[in-house]
């Protein structure tokens, strides 16, 4: 048995439990808890003029009804604006329960607590809220041009306005460079809304111990430590009296990093007030209309380039739809603005965004977090340049690549973590070479023309991206070896199904030289680890992985020192293999790590045979020294933190071949290929799993998913019947190849892989459809009905530009 598991395709240890239905999700807990339901606004924009509960109070099983008026001081304030930014001059957040205005359909107004959810919903139905209607603001371009306001004190509905510019090397401004460029193009791009849509919605379950004055809260969250701090602060409780646990979480994808959700404050508050267990488990409709969405942007692009396709100047103006509130600041448009640059050296770059309020569900990061929009912009730009110049699309990209010998490469911007946008490592030309081999890029024209002879329309597309991963500020790891030889690993960030139990155990087993079966991993439980940031931004493996490795190294150092005493050897001559500490080259001179754990903790009391060895009359330590040496602690355990100087930058390239039906306009992905570089891989099987899931979400965003709001601000497709998340039948087989350029920034040389798969998909599919149809595709997602309409208008009116034929 090897204990060197780093880099091995170890099967996911959590799957047997989860797949067999033995997961422990939020709604599996608290079977006897009181249930919560909310009266949510059916209107997009209205003043609340009255709340009448007369018809509701007689319902048997009703326990309590709360409105904003009932809330205590700390809970009455607007929810926190989590990430302030100087450009966010008009940040606005919602109240836990609407105070006097509702600004989107789904905003919570009344909280109902009852003996079960059925009764709670009966009560909700009987509560009459009266409204005075205000004009709803829907649609980005309407919001910035129209007279109606989402927040009456936010002129033009503009919450934030930010310009970043990287001038040309000679100091010229981007717009001047473009004006003087040999060739220029100008166009508008449009990306629709989608959403995270985890299989498990949000949920909160709270237990108050009135005698101990302590609160335990379970939340389906991506950050239990920060939810804990928010609850303690809002409810005025001492932090040590509050513990928050993320149980098994059925997916997050970003929506559960937002916190505290109103329910995360209201449910514990009600549990304390009522001195009863209280639970709220979000249903699917609630998730659609009251959680968060993402993606929607309109981009105006101007680009100047030379005969070779080098981008001399790029000027992008973005309207970003932020929905009704900005609890997560302007992280999404900042990421779009900065990650738009991808693997390219752009001569000069100006990006300006307006973050715009609309009477729709708020926008917060969804897997990819603004990158799919940025990559869509840049990759469409590259395709258009290639088309204009009559060049191969991959050659235009290659002409602009940062070269392997140019790292670290400073893009001279400020990234989402407030730190410089400096790429640490990568090899983009090699990625592209691998991708072209994998998809058969150079052979495709022959395939395309053969298909055309049969009346079939085939197209190929390509997209490249760079993704800042592993953002700080920090994560920690705690590792304890107990006297039974078990290794207990904990970290504060949370898991939503990524496979942390497996990869963190691989790291610990490798670092400590123990069998993986001996290692257990706990995440997201503040009883075990109190300091953490959370799981988002493809950061868990980089941050907690390195922290756990560092903690293991501390434990190993201590183990070798104690073992050296016992074996009368030099620690430098010792090594741990398969749970045994031994002298290098002399396996017989050994001591089990379990025994080292016993010896690490001098005992007075023996409770089993192992413990006897550490009791005061059994040890033979020096009588001149204390049993626990100065500067040491009892126990074989260690804790450490990893805090990076800045993010590490993963990259990848995708290509797809699509077929469009000449008659029905159906769009089918025939092949999908991915080359991915996330530095050193802890577990290539899990990296592929992350890529597959990401591509599947990307296909959803490219061909199926959008949030359809009407002009009244009603979400028309708030169910899985009409919001078309793709089934497995819609997802092509995904071919992958890897490249490993280690990150120089962290001990393990790793980069994040969580979001990668989703990022370039819309750009790739748009390029492929454009190639098949010879019709410009500037708006995603695209449905067969949309493609039919594009064909129709390109045929009849010329309203849609057709690509010119390049031989």
């Amino acid at each position: 048995m090897t204990t060197k598991l780093f880099g091995e395709p170890v099967r996911r240890r959590e799957d047997a439990r989860l797949v067999a239905g033995n997961g422990r999700y939020l709604d599996d807990l608290g079977a006897n808890a009181l249930a919560v339901a909310f009266v949510r606004s059916p209107h997009a924009h209205a003043l609340i003029t009255g709340i009448d509960v007369d018809d509701a109070i007689d319902v048997e099983g009703l326990v309590a009804i709360y409105t904003w008026e009932d809330l205590p001081a700390g809970v009455r304030e607007p929810l926190p604006l989590l990430i302030p930014h100087p450009a966010l001059t008009h940040g606005r957040t919602a109240y836990c329960l609407a105070k006097d205005v509702v600004r989107h359909v789904g905003e919570p107004i009344v909280m109902v607590v009852a003996t079960d959810r059925y009764i709670a919903e009966d009560v909700c139905e009987r509560i009459q809220v009266s409204y005075e209607f205000l004009k709803p603001v829907v649609g980005l371009e309407t919001a910035v041009s129209g007279p109606n306001l989402v927040h009456e004190d936010v002129p033009g509905n503009i919450g934030a306005h930010m310009i970043q510019e990287v001038a040309a090397k000679d100091g010229r401004a981007t717009r001047d460079v473009i004006a003087a460029a040999p060739h220029t193009l100008e166009f508008r791009l449009d990306i629709e809304r989608s959403a995270c849509m985890p299989m498990e919605g949000k949920g909160v379950y709270a237990r108050w111990d009135a005698d101990d004055r302590s609160l335990r809260v379970y939340s389906s969250t991506q950050t239990s430590t920060s939810v804990r701090m928010a609850i303690a602060a809002k409810l005025g409780l001492p932090l040590p009296k509050v513990e928050v646990i993320a149980p098994d979480v059925g997916g997050g994808f970003g929506v559960k990093i937002v916190h505290p959700w109103p329910e995360e404050i209201l449910v514990p508050w009600a549990a304390i007030l009522l001195n009863r267990e209280v639970k709220w488990s979000e249903d699917r409709r609630e998730h659609f209309i009251s959680s968060a969405h993402e993606r929607a942007q309109v981009q105006h692009v101007k680009v100047g380039f030379d005969d070779e396709g080098h981008v001399l100047g790029l000027d992008v103006e973005i309207l970003h739809d932020h929905g009704a509130y900005t609890p997560y600041g302007i992280i999404v448009p900042i990421i779009t603005s900065t990650q738009l640059l991808g693997p390219y050296k752009i001569g000069s770059y100006r990006v300006e965004f307006f973050s715009v309020y609309t009477n729709t569900v708020q926008v917060t990061p969804y897997r990819g977090a603004g990158r799919p929009q940025g990559v869509f912009c840049m990759e469409r730009t590259m395709d258009k340049i290639a088309q204009y110049l009559g060049k191969d699309r991959t050659l235009v990209r290659a002409a602009n690549f940062i070269q392997p010998d140019e790292f670290p490469y400073d893009q001279q911007m400020i990234f989402q973590d407030g730190r410089p946008l400096i790429y640490d490592s990568g090899d983009y030309p090699e990625s592209l070479r691998k991708l072209k081999d994998l998809i058969g890029w150079d052979e495709f024209p022959l395939m395309q023309s053969k298909a055309a002879e049969e009346g079939r329309k085939l197209g190929i597309g390509v997209g490249c991206y760079v993704e800042g991963t592993g953002v700080g500020p920090y994560e920690g790891g705690h590792v304890q070896v107990t006297s039974d030889g078990r290794v207990h690993v904990s970290t504060g960030l949370t898991s939503q199904g990524q496979g942390h139990e497996t990869v963190f155990a691989q790291i610990a087993a490798t670092e400590l030289g123990v069998p993986i079966e001996k290692v257990s991993v706990v995440t997201g439980d503040t009883r075990r680890f109190g300091y953490a940031v959370g799981t988002f931004a493809s950061r868990a493996a980089v941050m907690s992985g390195n922290a756990i490795a560092l903690a293991c190294r501390k434990v190993k150092e201590k183990a070798l020192r104690i073992a050296a005493d016992a074996l009368e050897a030099d620690p430098a001559d010792l090594e741990i293999t398969d749970g045994m500490v031994h002298v290098v080259g002399a396996p017989s001179a050994s001591i089990p790590l379990a025994t080292v754990a016993v010896l690490s903790n001098p005992l007075r009391y023996a409770f089993d045979e192992e413990a006897k060895r550490a009791t005061q009359f059994a040890t033979s330590g020096s009588m001149d020294k204390p049993p626990v040496a100065e500067g040491q602690e009892p126990g074989l355990e260690g804790k450490d933190y990893y805090s990076p100087v800045r993010s590490t930058f993963a990259s990848g390239m995708h290509a797809a071949i699509v077929e469009t039906d000449p008659d029905t306009a159906e769009i089918k992905i025939l092949r999908y290929a991915v080359v991915h570089d996330c530095g050193k891989m802890i577990n290539p099987m899990l990296v592929e799993g992350q890529i597959h899931g990401g591509v599947a979400q990307g296909v959803g965003g490219a061909l199926y998913e959008k949030m359809v709001y009407d002009e009244h601000g009603q979400l028309l497709n708030a169910s899985f019947m009409d919001f078309l998340m793709p089934y497995v039948t819609e997802i092509p087989f995904i071919e992958t190849d890897h490249l490993e350029t280690p990150s120089p920034l962290n001990p393990l040389g790793i980069k994040g892989a969580g979001e990668a798969g989703v990022i370039p998909v819309s750009a790739v599919i748009a390029g492929a459809i454009e190639d098949a149809e010879k019709i410009v595709i500037d708006r995603m997602p695209i449905s067969p009905s949309d493609l039919y309409a594009l064909r129709d208008s390109s045929r009849t009116s010329g309203a849609v530009s057709r690509l010119r034929n390049t031989q």
Binding site: R285, T664, S719, Y727, P784, Y788
Partner: protein
């Protein structure tokens, strides 16, 4: 997404079921497979006061060959009908169409009769019944009657079933010609944006179209005399599709034309 309270009835015989339905009147609903009714109740779009669960009624799950066709009982699940050689031998279009109905998990629970009684104009089985001139056998307080498909579908989600009546079976006739069904859905198993079931017999040809009207739209295309492009135009003249978030009316009309031509060709070749 929890339903309001309702009275649950679990009759053991058709007579008891009819009695419970008659007593409940307009406030009663039949529960068979529940694949449409339960989501509607959970979303509180339907709130029947009485739910008459026929799953305990004996003798309703049978699939029986009868002269000129096959009779499918009210408790026969889509998956059972799909797998039935009896049904397939009598009318191969039934299996072909059932494979387009949602997904295996839904077909394991949902019933073919339930789908027809639900009368969704976007569903496959009402169109199949309409194309074949099948019928629905119902039992009510006044006894039993057979309703021809042409009179059964009266509007979206609306049939000519009277209050207190239970559909106990449907009859799919065999055909003297070839049949086929084709559709285009956004995702595999979704309700189709457009779909066409076709029948081509030696002396006549016709189609039934999904998702382009209030009920399955049956169009006789015999006069096209085997020119299926012409037949597609005849059909496009007869339909009045509506736009929704998945497809424009124009696209639905176009698709129906394409599918009419393809389905008639497939039926002629079958």
């Amino acid at each position: 997404m929890k339903p309001p309270s309702f009275v649950y009835h679990a009759p053991a015989t058709v007579a008891e079921a009819v009695e419970a339905l008659a007593a409940a009147g307009a406030d009663g609903k039949v529960l068979a497979g529940g694949q449409s009714l339960i989501p509607l109740m959970n979303m509180r779009l339907a709130a029947p006061g009485h739910l008459v669960d026929i799953n305990h009624v004996a003798g309703l799950a049978e699939i029986t060959a009868e002269p000129g066709g096959v009779r499918v009982g009210a408790l026969a699940r889509h998956a059972e009908v799909e797998a039935s050689e009896t049904a397939h031998a009598a009318q191969p279009l039934v299996r072909e169409a059932l494979r387009l109905v949602a997904h295996p998990a839904v077909r394991n629970r949902g019933t073919t009769v339930g789908s027809i009684v639900h009368a969704d104009p976007a569903a496959e089985m009402p169109a199949v019944l309409a194309l074949l001139d099948g019928s629905v056998r119902v039992r009510g307080p006044e006894g039993e009657r057979d309703i021809p498909a042409g009179e059964f579908f009266v509007g979206p989600m609306e049939s000519s079933l009277r209050t207190g009546e239970l559909a106990v079976s449907v009859f799919f006739p065999s055909a003297r010609g070839g049949t086929a069904i084709l559709e285009v859905a956004r995702r595999h198993g979704d309700y189709a944006m457009a779909g066409v079931a076709a029948l081509v017999a030696p002396d006549h040809a016709k189609v039934a179209c999904l998702s382009v009207g209030a009920v399955p739209v049956v169009v006789d295309v015999t006069e096209a005399e085997g020119d299926w492009k012409r037949a597609a135009e005849l059909v496009q003249d007869q339909i009045d599709p509506e736009a929704d978030i998945h497809a424009t009316a124009d696209y639905r009309r176009h698709l129906t034309g394409v599918l009419t031509e393809r389905a008639l060709k497939a039926a002629a070749d079958a």
